[in-house]
């Protein structure tokens, strides 16, 4: 069946034949039958750009590969590539276990989490998803099913490899024990960017999860004012009664979602409100879903940007390059770029994935409507500043970077290419992202 596919940002649709295998056997047959235009895996399509698209070729929807098991003794989950973190959390949280890393949405597959080497609010302590993977099986271009462990070159090329080394059929990774399904959260308002960064640098290590939401509309003295949240899994003593993880209760839209299309006005109002609504400083208990996945409560919120879609720009600059971060925040607030949720986070050590995004430093993520005037030039300017500071842009969010910048930002690219070329000499695994960035 030919279908037009996009990522979460709903930009640049391209047609592909979409197939949904129900077993590894069917998956191998599909890979063996891949057309000249190649094949790429797709999970739940939560990457923003063109990573899980393959114009004129084959796209393998992995969500039919949905078996998984959990071993309580070791805390290890073994899951097929198409199992979603939502499924795992729903089952495991009531048993007192949590996934090692959760991105801002739980509607991602295990395969997608490894392929993008996703990070969460605990990156400063626990690194990214790939760091928790004990082994994975990969269906390669040659049709083999390889079992790979950390230390293997193809493992390092697959973690963060955006599906271009093969299809991840199964992943074994460690989970973390939790004692309640609630979060103990400390919320604090900061006056400007410097305070935000100082508080994060000083107190990050005391909490498993930290993140700051930045008000990009505020200018001048208040530039970079933020709402900082730091959280930990609550202990039974901290909560009177711990309700089980209940995602069904989250289907209603939170009250703060601006109605209609997201435009400059509603975004401005939203940013002001979000900041004012936050307490100066408060400790509260919160469920897992509102703490980790506030946006999952709003079904299809990505449609609010209208038919032209939107892009997310997420970059990281290494520790020591705070000036670059400050400069970009200043440009954004001067530019008056309406961004919905702009998030700042301090990263810890990377996982060793050759094309993995995280590195010790500061990461900023912002959403921008694709139709915005001068957006392309603005972001290209940021690319240069980020690359100049030794930083990079996150491929799972990217939909517009160019090949030259890619090579500058990812110094391990050549090594990754050599490993990939050995595993897939004919370039069977291909995506629109791979073509755009000439991977």
């Amino acid at each position: 069946m030919t279908t037009f596919l996009t990522g979460w940002g709903r930009t640049a649709p391209t047609p592909a034949r979409l197939a949904r295998p129900r077993s590894v056997g069917q998956l191998r047959e599909l890979v063996a039958s891949a057309p000249r235009r190649g094949v790429v895996a797709r999970g739940l399509g939560r990457s923003y750009g063109d990573a899980a698209q393959n114009a004129g070729g084959l796209v393998v929807d992995c969500t039919g590969l949905d078996a998984w098991t959990f071993d309580e003794g070791s805390g290890l989950v073994t899951a097929s590539g198409g199992v979603s973190l939502h499924t795992l959390m729903t089952a495991l949280v009531p048993q007192g276990w949590f996934v090692p890393v959760s991105p801002g949405t739980r509607h991602v597959t295990v395969g997608g989490a490894v392929a993008a080497d996703v990070h969460g609010k605990n990156h400063h302590r626990d690194s990214s998803f790939g760091a928790h993977v004990r082994s994975l099986t990969l269906v390669t271009a040659g049709g083999e099913v390889l079992t790979l462990r950390p230390g293997h070159p193809l493992f390092a090329a697959t973690v963060g490899g955006m599906g271009l080394t093969g299809v991840i059929a199964e992943v074994t990774f460690g989970c973390v024990p939790i004692r309640t399904s609630m979060m103990r959260v400390d919320v604090q308002r900061t006056a400007d960017l410097d305070e935000t960064m100082a508080v994060m640098a000083d107190s990050d290590h005391r909490h498993r999860y930290t993140v700051a939401w930045i008000d990009l509309i505020a200018r001048g003295r208040r530039m970079g004012r933020s709402v900082l949240t730091r959280g930990d899994h609550a202990t039974p003593a901290e909560v009177k009664e711990a309700p089980p993880f209940a995602p069904g209760a989250l289907a209603r839209a939170p009250a703060w979602v601006p109605g209609g299309l997201l435009n400059g006005l509603s975004l401005r109002a939203f940013n002001e409100l979000w900041y004012r609504r936050a307490p100066r400083r408060r400790t509260l208990t919160q469920g897992i879903a509102p703490f980790f996945h506030p946006l999952d409560g709003v079904e299809g919120w990505n449609r609010m940007y209208g038919p032209r879609g939107f892009v997310q720009y997420q970059f990281v600059v290494p520790l020591g390059a705070e000036e670059t971060l400050r400069g970009i925040v200043a440009t954004l607030s001067e530019h008056g770029s309406p961004s919905f949720l702009t998030v700042l986070k301090r990263f810890g050590p990377g996982s060793g994935g050759l094309l993995s995004f995280p590195m010790p430093g500061w990461t900023l993520a912002l959403d921008l409507p694709a139709g915005g005037r001068g957006l392309s030039g603005l972001l290209r300017g940021f690319d240069r500043r980020v690359a100049g500071a030794g930083g990079r842009v996150y491929l799972a969010k990217d939909a517009r970077l160019g090949a030259a910048m890619m090579a500058e930002m990812y110094p391990e690219l050549e090594r990754w290419r050599r490993i990939r070329d050995e595993a897939d000499p004919a370039g069977l695994f291909r995506s629109d992202l791979a073509r755009r960035l000439r991977l």
Partner: protein, 245 residues
Amino acid sequence: MKNALGGVDTVLLLGGRSEIGLEIVRLLAGLGAGRVVLAARDGFDPPDLGAEVHVVPFDALDVHGHGAVFARATELVGDLDVVISAFGVLGTQERYDADPAAAAEAVAVNYGAHVSVGLHAARVLREQGHGTLVVLSSVAGARVRKANFVYGSAKAGLDGFAQGLGDALHGSGARVLIVRPGFVIGRMTKGLAPAPMSSTPRQVALATVAALRAGAPSVWVPRALGPAFRVLRLLPRALWRRLPR
């Protein structure tokens, strides 16, 4: 690949000497296009375009060689994000009146060769599942005038062909963009007095790039020519015939 903001990476320009074509390429390169193939007749020295430039020999009238031009271009740069079909000859009506063979040859370039190139491009873009073919049509074809009816009739044919091709490609991911400039002040029209609503190659290129990014099916340059011709098409022939040029 065309990216989320309409930027592209690779461009094939057929008619590598075309002023408008080169101006479009220059703009696209400024917006991030990294690799360009210029297809032109022999002895072509490519200008600096701010991108990696390849030159491929191309003769519009050698229709049997067109397939090889596309094969070479994709070999050099991979997928073709934008193909610009920009070659053409103008020539005066007086000359064509005096030399019908020259008229037939001009039509072969301005129409026949574009049909061949367009069909080759369609095959490549359809297989890719993405990409835009830019066809340089002209208001001369919107309603043919006695002052240049040989040229105008070829452009009318080309415009119709491009519309049909665009419809045929609908749903394939590939697109056709038809550009309809009025009188363009440039090398091709040197010595001719500019008509009303004329434009420069740069203005045509700017409008083309904006239309490319927006994914539009056609663009008139200047824009006002669109509504103007909707009216002019309705003009009685007795009146139309009397237009001085």
